[in-house]
Symmetry: C4
Subunit: 206 residues, 4 copies
Amino acid sequence: MDSGRVEAFSDGVFAIAITLLVLDLRVSGEGSLFHQLLAAWPNYFAYVVSFLTIGIMWMNHHTILGHVKRVDRPLLVLNLLLLMGIVAIPFPTTLVAEHLRDADGKVATVTYGLVMIVISAGFAALWVYVVTHASSLGAVVPQDALRQSVPGFTLGGAVYAAGTLIAASWSPVAGLIIFGALAIYYLFEHLPSPAEEPAAGKPPAG
Amino acid sequence: MDSGRVEAFSDGVFAIAITLLVLDLRVSGEGSLFHQLLAAWPNYFAYVVSFLTIGIMWMNHHTILGHVKRVDRPLLVLNLLLLMGIVAIPFPTTLVAEHLRDADGKVATVTYGLVMIVISAGFAALWVYVVTHASSLGAVVPQDALRQSVPGFTLGGAVYAAGTLIAASWSPVAGLIIFGALAIYYLFEHLPSPAEEPAAGKPPAG
Amino acid sequence: MDSGRVEAFSDGVFAIAITLLVLDLRVSGEGSLFHQLLAAWPNYFAYVVSFLTIGIMWMNHHTILGHVKRVDRPLLVLNLLLLMGIVAIPFPTTLVAEHLRDADGKVATVTYGLVMIVISAGFAALWVYVVTHASSLGAVVPQDALRQSVPGFTLGGAVYAAGTLIAASWSPVAGLIIFGALAIYYLFEHLPSPAEEPAAGKPPAG
Amino acid sequence: MDSGRVEAFSDGVFAIAITLLVLDLRVSGEGSLFHQLLAAWPNYFAYVVSFLTIGIMWMNHHTILGHVKRVDRPLLVLNLLLLMGIVAIPFPTTLVAEHLRDADGKVATVTYGLVMIVISAGFAALWVYVVTHASSLGAVVPQDALRQSVPGFTLGGAVYAAGTLIAASWSPVAGLIIFGALAIYYLFEHLPSPAEEPAAGKPPAG
């Protein structure tokens, strides 16, 4: 299958998942609307963190699939499993939005972190598959692409693990701040993209 | 109408239907969030089975439409009827997620199976139409494409029927496991795709 | 603006509106799930009628925009107003699904019919604009396209009006059957499409 | 990254956000359906204003991105932040639809206006970035594009501010009418589009 078709389908899924986050923007409870709006800050917080996170994941997804020209069945399967995690993001987002301020805030934020760790592993699997099957996928990747990308993936996973631990042992709000900070960090730091490859991909001895 | 446009519209419908499944990821009931999350396993189970199933159906849809260059009115109608079934999938998914553990679990799982059987028949109808009208659709299909595909479609229908019967007579959970196993099986086994045709499609005497 | 971009956006809106209809597939009330499923027949009925209707409208939209090469501001505005009607379809669909069997069935079905009449007028306006501004839109339409299309648009509007009157004065179910029959009729009868124009569009004296 | 991909993703987000507005079309309360439908006029009003507003924003987004050939990381980030505002629009729309007639109408409409002001600032930031980085984005913009666009952006921001103040100090309905009037005004008045540039962009002394 042509990779463009998989990207178009994945783009649609990303676009819908990111837009469904608006369903978490809602107020509830007693009192005037003004007080309800103020009290709903966990909803806004969770919305912003998840929106930025899905946005970053969309960019990373394009960076990875931008390397390949065609996709095979294992890549389709890995991509489908990855999307299964991304589509689920509104679920822990809702949990965090509803419970951040009550006794279940830790459980909600840990669930959020665990979903993110699973998704990070999915991205790593997709990337490893692309790099190790570059020739059959028509992909042009730098010789040491895998080694180069280890720090990035390790950092992401480690920060999600740290945030999850902090949420579990100390403060759910601090955990969520860490997840948000990671998204903001990745807005500016990222995998080398295919467009930048001509420089990064040339033979070291060239 | 150009087949690309029908595929783009269908892709959008598939992407939205698969993403709406997240609405079934929710907790309810009494007790701590932790216990609610554990008790919601039928929701996760139904989510995974339906997500993989719609994912497979998307791939099969592409495989079928990948054979044709243009579409005529009957193909559009068949495609619309097929999409009407696929868009409905979140409905029996919700039924299963809500009732798998109560006395209505059998009715919910049988409803799920019946929807799948109807959709399987829709796929078979679309495929038969493409093969039997190959020339007017600009399709290149192997001479014996219809005969070759009989086992695959028969298997799918038979497994859905078996799962439905098992859910009705014995265990809804077992029925749902069968539906999930079928999806996983089809992740790796599938119709011959257009890209693989040059080999499969050459004249037997060549 | 290039017409392809408007079509892509419109396609997305059609695809989402048609998929959101699944939210009307739900059961409620007392009793076993089996009886709830049987009692929910107005939901299935409304789902099928609206699904086929939006599907037909999507095809008609493509037929109309398939004539033009570029779009101007008035066409964008007309298209946006038309989409505003189409996106609203799930609303009267929900009303019909919930009230078809109770004393408010007439009001619900009349509302449904009125929305359809407004949308039909929107399609007629879009088509008239395309035909009367063919040269500036880069459109190739038969000389007598406008006259040829009068019967089709008149029929659609008249049948929606008749169904609405029948729903108001006699039976909401009969009105909904008429709306569904119109959709099925248009599945097979339609405006001349751009692909068929070479024949339809040649000079009468050619 | 190619700008076409960003536009496709953004189009998807716009299409979904505009379609989710239908979730605000609903009736509630006591009495016959007919009276509920009449009483729901704030829902229709808010639906129309937000639908036209998102529609206009979609057109403006295309006008801005239509100038560029490729996108860089800062543009992606600005675009993501802008989309985060647009995806949120259904939230204040719901607030207005539910509270326009009660004591919380002012708070709801002011919230609506503030979201619009933030989004307007986002559009201005995107446009300023495109104009000031035209060469690296492959954009062709008129020499004095920035100066030319000041009146348009100033008008939009000023009208949103005025509508918000009027809603806060006097009448939420009047504020919402102003927001709707602005959308209708921009249906016919807009930024110079890339297609019109050859005329608008030629040197004044040419």
